[in-house]
Symmetry: C2
């Protein structure tokens, strides 16, 4: 089994982004800019914000941090949000969610669709469902799609006709990813906690995407000989160690390729965010 | 094999609708009202309009026909559309699509989400993707869901854990239906023209939904013993006769239940439309 590190996928995408951003700079055009909205000091939010900023800097994309205190008044927060939402110098907005109280829904309802680079608005989700090419999909779902294309490219293959099983039906990964891969001509089965024979559904797939949020759920019996495995899981095991949804030790050499956790899909996600900010910038020409 | 006629499903739903509309009438409240928007004189549009009107009348729902000539100016059409879009006495709008020229996209972008009873706006499609209960799904997709629940109810079963294969990935049936049934705890596989082994995918399913738009595509080899078949296909055969996507003659007694074409799902769709107009009316309380 060959491990596929997210960094290798991200590096290729970063090169493309840097090339296009440099072209904007050479032509003295405005550089892409991301606003990062955070409320409070949750360690997970701060850690994701740090890696997003590092990635934007690597890509030559500008950013601004819009941080509000945990107990910010809803009105104050929304008026602050409105400012960046209408600011013509900001191309994309990343909201570190979930936000406290009812701000989450308000922001998803108010975010400008052309700045909604992580697809939190119903409008962008609908465009994704309709299969429109100018939509923004959720970054993690796109990261899986790009990683799969990278792996298949090594084999000289594409997603067309591939049998894919996705485990997990969340609105940020499972459901949007099923639509993206269906659009790529794969045949997708979407599994979840109520699926009757999960091992059978998984073991029938050429490509298995684990996005269930359940530590080491996927074992050897879930894997088809020669399959490609991608792991979106982010779980803590009994020793406080970060582990994915796939038990790669148990799977052994049955799979051909697999993304590890950590250093797998997570390492692609911020680069996808940069890609979407650049896409938004091009729409703001 | 037992044939399931759409009328039987529609009759049950109609009773519920009539009961609720009568309650509004008894309380001297405003009755639900549907606006039907048609451009030109396409026979298919006129025929659907007629059955929609007949169904609304049966349910006690009011309606208004907004008909424009084939060569209507876009500006004139859009200002006419705006009137019904803001009219507080109109609860739902049915647009007979596709409209000519670029009006189609304009209408889908402008329709008030709370009147979008056939789910043509990106906003409502996004709500469907997010799994929100107060959304409007496309009527045909909902008609299939209701028919499946009616059939399973006969067996004392539910969709939970059922293995469903849908053939056809359209934005009006296949994709939204896959989301609806996933929300009902079924495990859904979405097939299409690029699916490598269609017969195998279909023959593995407890429930098969044919929505491919390909006459008599589904044969005996596509059907699991004891399966439930629903047919959304509307095709003309070589003799100009209306036929579905399923060749019921070839399937024979292998399936347990099947909806025929004509007199199947199509007969449920307008009743679902009435149901959604009533739902919109309740939101306009």
């Amino acid at each position: 089994m060959e491990l596929i590190y997210g960094k290798d996928v991200a590096d290729i995408l970063t090169k493309e982004i840097v090339y296009k951003v440099s072209a904007l700079a050479r032509e003295n055009k405005r550089l892409p800019k991301l606003a990062i909205v955070r409320v409070g000091e949750k360690p997970g939010d701060i850690s994701y914000e740090k890696s997003a900023i590092k990635c934007m800097e690597k890509c030559g994309i500008e950013h601004v941090e819009c941080t509000f205190s945990e107990d910010v008044d809803k009105g104050v927060f929304l008026s602050g949000f409105k400012k960046i939402n209408v600011d013509k110098n900001i191309d994309g907005i990343l909201v570190l969610r979930p936000l406290p109280k009812d701000m989450d829904e308000a922001v998803a309802g108010k975010i400008a669709p052309d700045k909604d680079v992580d697809c939190i608005s119903h409008y962008n989700m609908g465009k994704l469902l309709a299969g429109e090419k100018d939509c923004f999909a959720p970054c993690t779902a796109l990261a899986v799609e790009k990683t799969l294309k990278y792996i298949l490219d090594k084999k000289g293959e594409s997603l067309r006709g591939k049998k894919v099983t996705i485990v997990g039906r969340s609105t940020v990964v499972g459901k949007p990813l099923s639509l993206l891969l269906t659009g790529d001509d794969a045949t997708v089965t979407l599994c979840h906690t109520k699926t009757v024979n999960l091992a059978r559904e998984c073991a029938a797939a050429d490509i298995l995407v684990a996005a269930a949020g359940s530590a080491k759920l996927i074992k050897e019996e879930h894997v088809k000989e020669g399959a490609i495995l991608t792991d979106v899981g982010v779980n803590m095991d009994e020793n406080g160690k970060l582990v994915g949804d796939i038990d790669l030790f148990d799977v052994g050499d049955k799979a051909l390729f697999a993304t590890p956790v950590p250093k797998g899909i997570g390492a692609v996600t911020t680069t996808i965010l940069a890609m979407q900010v650049l896409k938004a910038r091009m729409m703001h020409e």
